[in-house]
Subunit: 108 residues, 4 copies
C-alpha cells in the first residue's frame, strides 16, 4: 500500500547574520531537495512547497533547518505548515487545479 | 515618491464548515484580488503571495478574511506573513531571481 | 453595539542585525501595547498574543512591524495569525478556559 | 554531552468537522504531552509552546498532528515554528526573562 502524501510549506530564516539577504541560504536548502526522489518541491517567493510522505517531509525539513548553522548562523527560525487529508489524494498540482476549476484565470 | 512595496503571504482557513474542501473559499478570496491594480498576486498550493504597499496588503487581507463569513463559516483563521526590507526593492519575481542566480535549475 | 473582538498572535523578527538576540526589539514592540486601552496582550516565549477588534489589531501590528526599522534593521519579517469567530465571544482567557474544562491540569 | 534544546510552537487545526470549536482536539493533543519527561510545554490562547530536543519536538508534533484524524476529522493543518540557537541555551522561561529585564512590567 502506498503511504499517504501531504503538501507542506517550509521556510528557514537565519538570524544575526549581519546581512539582510537570505538567498544563499535558500539556495543551499534547495540543494538538499535536488536528487531526493521521494519529495516534489517548488520554490515560491515566500517559502518552499514540499510534497511527500509526512516522515520524508519532516526529515528534509530537519536537514534544511541545519543549513544556516553549517554556514555560520547562530540562530535559525524554521516554520513548517503541514496540510494533510485522508478523504482524497493531496498534491501540489491537485490543490491548484481545484481552484482553477472555479476561477479559470487565476495566476499561479 | 513611490511608497515602498512588500511581499507577503496570506492564508484564509474556514473552520467548522462540515467539508474538508476549501477551494471555493480560496476562489472567492482570489476574486478580491482580480481587478486590484495596486496588488500583484500569485496563488501557490499553500497560500496566496501578495506584492504591494503594506497598507494595501493589510486592506486586501482584511477583505479576504471576511470571505468565508459571507459564505456561512462561523470561524476563520487567517495567517499573514510580511517580508519587508528598506535596503533594496522587494518583488515576488526579484526574490525568485536571486535564488535562481545561485541555483539555476531551481523549480518555481 | 460593541464591535467584535478577535484573538491574534504577532511575531516581529529583524533580519541581518548582526546579533542573534531579539529581546530588545521585542521589548520595544511591547512598549507600543502598553497604555493602549483597546488591546489586551500577553507575551509568550514565541510571540505576542493580542485581543481586540480586527482594526485595532491590524493597527498595532503595523506599528510593531515598524519598530526594528527605527532601530536600524534593514529587513523585518512579521507574522500575524488571526482567530475570529462570530458564533461566540472570543477572548484569550476564554480560549484557555475551554481547554481547562476538558483538561484540568493543563499548564498555561 | 547534553543534546541542544529548542523552543517551538505547534498548532493543530482540524478542518471540516462541522463545529467551529476545537478545544476537545486541543485537550487531546495536550494529553500527548502529559507524562512526557523530555518535553516542557505551555498552552497559550493561540498554540502550544514546546521545549525539548528537535528530535523529540518533531516526534510529539507528529503525534499531535494525528489526534484529530483519530477523532474523525478528514483534514488537519498543523503549523510548527522552531526557534533554535547554538550560541546560548534556549528555554521558554529564559526567553521571557530576557524581555522582562528590559521591560519589567511586561504581561506574560
Amino acid at each position: 500500500m502506498k503511504e499517504r502524501r501531504i503538501v507542506a510549506e517550509v521556510s528557514v530564516v537565519p538570524l544575526g547574520t549581519g546581512s539582510a539577504s537570505v538567498s544563499e541560504y535558500v539556495a543551499d536548502c534547495i540543494g538538499i531537495l535536488e536528487g531526493n526522489k521521494e519529495i516534489n518541491y517548488r520554490l515560491t517567493p515566500m517559502g518552499t512547497i514540499l510534497e511527500g510522505t509526512l516522515n520524508e517531509v519532516l526529515k528534509v525539513t530537519q536537514q534544511m533547518h541545519t543549513v544556516p548553522f553549517a554556514k555560520g548562523a547562530a540562530r535559525v527560525v524554521t516554520t513548517l505548515k503541514i496540510d494533510d487529508r485522508i478523504d482524497k489524494e493531496l498534491t501540489m498540482e491537485g490543490k491548484l487545479k481545484s481552484v482553477r476549476m472555479r476561477k479559470p484565470g487565476v495566476k499561479t
